[in-house]
Amino acid sequence: MSANAFDQESKPTVAWLWQVVTGIGLVLLLGLHMVANHFIAKGGLRDYAAVVAYLRNPIILVLEVLFLVCVTTHALLGVRAIFLDFGLSDRVEQRLSGVLKWIGVLTIGYGLVVMWFVIR
């Protein structure tokens, strides 16, 4: 009741750590993605046949999937951080996190579908 309002251990958060982990992942994977898709590739972009050949390489496929997961997580955690700065209530913040989680799942799902269409 009259206890200190700030003297409360809050639930530990891992958002920041994940942001860093995916961020470091991105530095490596995006570097690879950029160099492979836009610098090495003739003309800065692969044509359709080249994309197919590229993605059919299993190592590349795994790396591209990882890239997709990292970039989506990193982006949505960033969006969440921006929204948190609007001083929302705890309930709205929780709901927002839920919505962003679903957006993330859909984004990754969509990416996987595109990849599947290419390599099939």
Binding site: G23, G44, V51, I82, Y110
Partner: protein, 129 residues
């Protein structure tokens, strides 16, 4: 006693207010602006990739368009955003784990200068085509 309080939106907009602020605040604002830009780009990019589903002709037509100087200029801007966000992100990760927090301003300067060099090199490569 009633007090003067600023609205939440006005307060939230303060991350953009770099007046009278130092390098760290500029880095933070830049990181956010580029971050927002990159999220928008990410979804544009994913949207464009839907052409891969539509098949070879659609994709190759897009590839032709993307090789125009206008698109290449946009690519340079994109790259600038990625370099600012990525290199600054490295700074945040390093300082965020308690290393060289005292040198954050020097780190920012060094990273941004190297980012500039990479950008120039990459721009030359992009427009060589």
């Amino acid at each position: 006693m009633s007090t003067l309080n600023y609205s939440k939106t006005r307060q939230a907009a303060r991350w953009f207010d770099v007046r009278r602020r130092k390098a760290g605040m500029w880095a933070y604002a830049l990181n956010r602006i580029t971050g927002i830009g990159l999220v928008v780009y990410l979804y544009l990019h994913l949207g464009v990739l839907s052409m891969l589903i539509q098949g070879q002709s659609a994709w190759d037509a897009f590839v032709g368009l993307a090789r125009s100087p206008f698109y290449l200029a946009l690519d340079v801007i994109l790259l600038a955003g990625i370099l600012i966000h990525g290199l600054n992100g490295l700074r945040l990760a390093v300082t965020g784990f308690g290393f060289s927090a005292g040198a954050q301003k020097a780190l920012f300067t060094i990273l941004m200068i190297s980012g500039g060099i990479i950008l120039i090199a990459a721009a030359l490569k992009i427009f060589q085509i």
